[in-house]
Point group: C2
Chain length 199, copies 2
């Protein structure tokens, strides 16, 4: 299923086709090179002072099913319902301190969001689908995987090949078939000063 963004003018196809679907193909493996490509895309995101405050854990069901299961068990039930078929899970975490001087990095989460978006776009570019989730137990995840307090746990990300929506049911199916939507441009983008619609 493809649900490209609805835009006033054409935009880059990878950005347009990135979509957080829920129907994953449990039988179609993601290769080691594809995983490295996802990480490289995240790695080359921009960051304040080039500090690279993002940290990711990758769980690959094909090579370590037990670790994947531990990560899966940290998701809320509503997400588990559809993530069950995704071969890869990622955690995106943000360093709250600058690497170069140990002081507070107020761009840590912002830059980590950029790195995660690069990962999702790289997935799209390879015919995969990535879906970020805030719905997981961050404290449990921190404990299970021994993540220091210095890092904020931002999102879990499911990645895999898309499957036919016939693999879904209930709320996940409803959400999958609903039209994509965004707020009007003029509510979020301003021209020259705050609050004046840009388009």
């Amino acid at each position: 299923m493809k649900k490209p963004a609805i835009t006033q003018v054409p935009i880059d196809g990878t950005i347009s086709n990135r979509w957080s679907g829920r129907a994953y193909d449990a039988g179609k493996a993601v290769s080691r090179d594809q995983i490295i490509a996802l990480l490289e895309a995240a790695r080359w995101a921009p960051s304040c002072f080039g500090d690279q405050p993002w940290r990711f854990i990758v769980w690959d069901r094909a090579t370590d099913a037990a670790a994947w299961q531990k990560a899966f068990d940290c998701l809320v039930p509503g997400n588990q319902a559809w993530v069950k078929d995704a071969p890869l899970l990622f955690l995106a975490a943000a360093d709250s301190l600058f690497n170069h001087n140990g002081k507070e990095n107020r761009w840590g989460q912002y830059d980590t969001g950029a790195a995660a978006e690069n990962l999702c776009l790289q997935a799209t570019a390879m015919g995969l689908m990535a879906h970020q989730m805030g719905g997981f137990d961050a404290e449990k995840t921190r404990e299970v995987f021994g993540i220091p307090q210095q890092y904020s746990l931002m999102a879990m990300i499911a990645v895999g090949y898309p499957a036919d929506i016939g693999t879904l049911n209930g709320e996940a199916l409803e959400r999958e078939t609903a039209p994509r939507s965004r707020r009007p441009l003029g509510e979020l983008f301003f021209n020259g000063t705050w609050g004046k619609p840009a388009a």
Copy 2:
């Protein structure tokens, strides 16, 4: 000047070619449709609960030089030295509250980073160059443009066509010609648990 990312495996060309250069072509205009494309790319980023916590101001020197100048005056001198030739400036701001229920949105900055990265990648896809900056006076910017306290001012972004590096000198030229670098994959990306290098 092109400085593609150095990666173990090939990645999407737009992600690879995105680079925060400093040499802008002051004489080459960015069209209205290109500006809309930049905003649309940001607009279609993913966000927690689909809340779209990002807000952007765009300053287009070609249509409102006075407003562009006010934004430029908020940058630190080290950035002004090269931003002077960029026809477009943007501010990326993050809502600290959810739109749907008014409660704290702990993903506001993370999601805004994704939207800004989409904008930068869309610029790259159109042959433009985008460079994000943390080096600006956030309090002054908030006052000059009347930005409510609810929004965190994350980055200013310069956008325009790249120019020959002969337009730069001093520190900006040095930085422009330095090789790109990132920390090794294994320092930032972990396999199955925290701290175990993924590659």
